[in-house]
């Protein structure tokens, strides 16, 4: 096997907001074509990690390399799906326009988008089954539909790396499955997906690899390696109830 350039390589990444460190000396690398989940308790720096991959947050220290290049040069190869809570749902913008935003990086700012750009955005909407809603204002959609629209935007952007911030938060079971289908079909096209995830119960089921963060990097590996009760209870101190149910599930997992 030839040596592959990792899709994402992070070296000694340290980020702080004022005196509070958000990430401390995180180093890891992610191979292309993987679906990776980032888990960790609230305020553990998961979103900060994604934002530093995007170049939106400047690290105090450390490097982010995307496909072996400086993150600055690889801009535009990374597509981003924001957390639901960080979007202004009253913004005067329609579903079609959000999808079209995925193409904004493809033309210089003074030039109109081409008809090809419009086709690509339209196709992305079809892929997430939202094409019928293209004239709706985004506030008039259900939670799952809103999530799918932003997935379409990321698909239209055609980045090699997709970063998703809590895509499964607050959506119903059917939507969760629909989003997962989109994630998996996107991975099959060879893209790398990094997903911030809050639900430990489904984490090992959904992802090829997991990253456990709480300021520092606690674990990175296959779900079996990371979902270790001892490791988890160290990171999620005080929320042991979760593990009791997890262990129950693991015990019952044999027949299901």
């Amino acid at each position: 096997m030839t040596q592959q350039v990792p899709a994402i390589e992070v070296k000694n990444l340290t980020v702080s907001y004022g005196p509070v460190p958000a990430l401390l000396d995180v180093s890891l690398s992610i191979e292309p074509g993987q679906l990776v989940g980032i888990i960790g308790p609230n305020g553990s720096g998961k979103s900060t990690f994604i934002k530093s991959l995007l170049g939106f947050v400047k690290p105090d220290f450390g490097d982010v390399l995307l496909f072996g290049e400086d993150a600055e040069k690889a801009k535009g190869r990374v597509a981003y799906v924001p957390q639901r809570g960080s979007v202004d749902w009253d913004f005067p913008i329609t579903v079609g326009e959000v999808a079209l935003m995925g193409r904004y990086g493809k033309q210089p700012w003074w030039r109109e988008l081409s008809s090809e750009d419009h086709d690509i955005a339209e196709h992305a909407l079809e892929q997430v089954r939202m094409a019928d809603y293209r004239h709706r204002q985004i506030g008039q959609l259900s939670g799952g539909q809103q999530q799918r629209v932003f997935m379409a935007r990321a698909i239209a952007q055609g980045g090699d790396i997709l970063l998703l911030d809590e895509p499964f938060a607050g959506v119903d079971a059917a939507t969760e499955k629909a989003i997962l289908d989109v994630l998996e079909s996107t991975r099959e096209t060879g893209r790398t997906l990094v997903v911030v995830h809050h639900d430990l119960a489904t984490a090992s089921e959904y992802f090829d690899a997991l990253v456990l963060l709480k300021q520092r990097l606690f674990a990175h590996g296959t779900p079996e390696q990371v979902m270790h009760p001892e490791l988890l209870s160290e990171v999620y101190e005080g929320t042991l109830r979760i593990f009791a149910s997890l262990q129950n599930e693991a015990a019952a997992g044999g027949d299901g």
Binding site: G55, G76, A79, Y80, P92, G105, W109, Q137, A174
Partner: protein, 504 residues
């Protein structure tokens, strides 16, 4: 009004200039105002307007002392833009590097710089001849040619910038993180928007004065915001409201002989309030009407449930009152609304279901029984099953229920032994569906088989579904052979899912 608009202004170049000024300024203010409204920076715009005073005075002084020129307009313009930018920079710096929050910092900085301007103006009152009153309330009728040229240049610059950089401005306003990830210079765009705002504020101050300029910026944009679902439309609708506000305000001020600046802002605000009241989608009346008409989903579904359980699917109003936890008048209103929707028939005090109503009620029953089965799987106590499922049955979104059905292995009966209605939404004769959702007695033709999983069945076979076995986990099918005989096959859930059937 036509006479006034055309003939008066044609006759007086002085008034004509005021008209042109007002139209120009209200356009550019309304357009940039959209971004101020969406970025929630109206307080910052107010600060920019006030801090101008210091810049105007300093610009005046420099030209007077160094070049001996009186009231040099370009110097005052540049001075006011610079003092605006300085204020914004100070606000940004202090709020980033101290624990004082941004609104407090804005409050300190702009009053401070405004007051500093006031101090300078009275300290050098011998040199500086600025009419502070006009600065406060505007001087639409006293606009000089120089001012008008300046306004024209500012308007053209700002509006071309917004048109050219529309996509970047839209994205940076809507989603900064994505804008940054595309390599846009977010901070530069912020500063360019602020510079534009500063320039526009300077022109607006000429018309309505420092105190009221925020109204000229925000009111038309906020009015348009109540109408529009696209930023592009919001920009020109806002400009339209800016024009009507200016023209009406200016006309009233001439008719009743009051200060134009004040009148314009009064009209703009009145316009906003009217639209806020009557806007078709985001207005108060529309909202009120919606709430009046709305019948809670839960009530509708409870009523359907009661009728479905009733003898011969008929019941009276008092049965509904007895079996649902709602007051009689609410139930009566809900029934009327459901009759209008043609879900119910209400004749001679007997309420019955229409076909649509029955369809909806069955869908509900299916959701309820699937939820009960699911809850039992989770180990919920027997006596809680019904009440918990009652709460959950309102989650009967098509996809969610089908997902549940699939996860549970398409059960036939619920924990109480009652039959779970078949998937009647998908079981439409002539349509193609997975074999797993078929029930006993269904017949059809195989149109697709995943042969990796199933080898007993081929495309084109005629299939009759038999009674399920093994606690309804094994599907039994009969395939008709050429000789008239039938062969029987047993399939598990996965295999049944691998076969697609066109239902007869």
């Amino acid at each position: 009004m036509y006479d006034w608009l055309v003939e008066t202004h044609y006759a007086s170049p002085h008034l004509f200039k005021a008209l042109i000024t007002g139209l120009l300024v209200s356009t550019v203010c309304s357009v940039i105002g959209c971004f101020i409204v969406l970025r929630r920076t109206s307080f910052l715009a107010d600060a920019l307007a006030h801090s101008m005073l210091a810049g105007v005075v300093v610009g005046y002084l420099i030209m007077k002392v160094l070049f001996g020129k009186e009231a040099h307009a370009p110097a005052m313009l540049i001075g006011s833009i610079l003092s605006g930018m300085l204020t914004v920079a100070l606000i940004g710096f202090v709020s980033r590097s101290s624990r004082v929050k941004e609104d407090a910092v804005i409050g300190i900085m702009y009053t401070g710089i405004f007051a500093f301007g006031g101090v300078l103006a009275s300290l050098f009152s011998h040199y500086v001849h600025i009419d502070l009153l006009h600065f406060m309330v505007g001087q639409l009728l006293g606009v000089s040619d120089q001012d008008l040229w300046m306004m024209a240049i500012v308007s053209v610059t700002v509006i071309s910038f917004i048109i050219l950089a529309f996509r970047s401005l839209q994205l940076v306003t809507f989603d900064r993180v994505m804008a940054a990830s595309l390599g846009m210079n977010v901070v530069l765009l912020d500063y360019m928007l602020t510079t534009c705002t500063a320039m526009v504020v300077v022109t607006g101050v000429q018309v309505v004065g420092v105190i009221q300029v925020v109204g000229l910026l925000i009111a038309p944009a906020a009015t348009a915001y109540l109408f529009c679902d696209r930023l592009r439309n919001m920009l020109w609708v806002s400009a339209l409201f800016g024009w009507t506000g200016f023209l009406l305000g200016y006309y009233f001020s001439e008719t009743y002989n009051v200060a134009p600046g004040a009148m314009i802002v009064v009209v703009l605000t009145a316009q906003f309030l009217v639209v806020f009241l009557v806007s078709p989608r985001y207005g108060l009346l529309a909202d009120f009407q919606r709430r009046l008409k709305a019948v809670p989903q839960q009530l509708v579904e409870d009523i359907l449930g009661v009728i479905l359980r009733a003898n011969k699917e008929r019941c009276g109003m008092d049965d509904l009152v007895k079996h649902t936890p709602y007051k009689a008048d609410r139930i009566r209103k809900a029934v009327q609304s459901m009759v209008r929707q043609e879900w119910l028939c209400f004749e001679k005090d007997v309420i019955s279901l229409t076909d649509d109503g029955r369809q909806h009620a069955r869908r509900l029953r299916r959701a309820h029984r699937l939820w009960e089965t699911y809850l039992q799987h989770l180990g919920v106590a027997e006596d809680e099953l019904h009440s918990r499922a009652d709460l959950l049955e309102h989650l009967h979104d098509e996809d969610a229920v089908d997902y549940l059905d699939d996860k549970l292995g398409h059960p036939l009966t619920d924990p109480h032994g009652a039959e779970i209605p078949e998937d009647f939404v998908h079981l439409v004769p002539g349509e193609v569906m997975r074999l797993a959702i078929l029930r006993e007695g269904h017949t059809g033709e195989v149109v697709r088989v995943n042969s990796g999983l199933v080898d007993q069945v081929a495309v084109g076979d005629r299939v009759t579904v038999g009674v399920r076995e093994d606690n309804s986990q094994t599907w039994v099918i009969n395939i008709a052979q050429a000789d008239g005989q039938a062969t029987e096959h047993r399939l598990n859930h996965e295999e049944a899912d691998a076969i697609s059937i066109r239902l007869d």
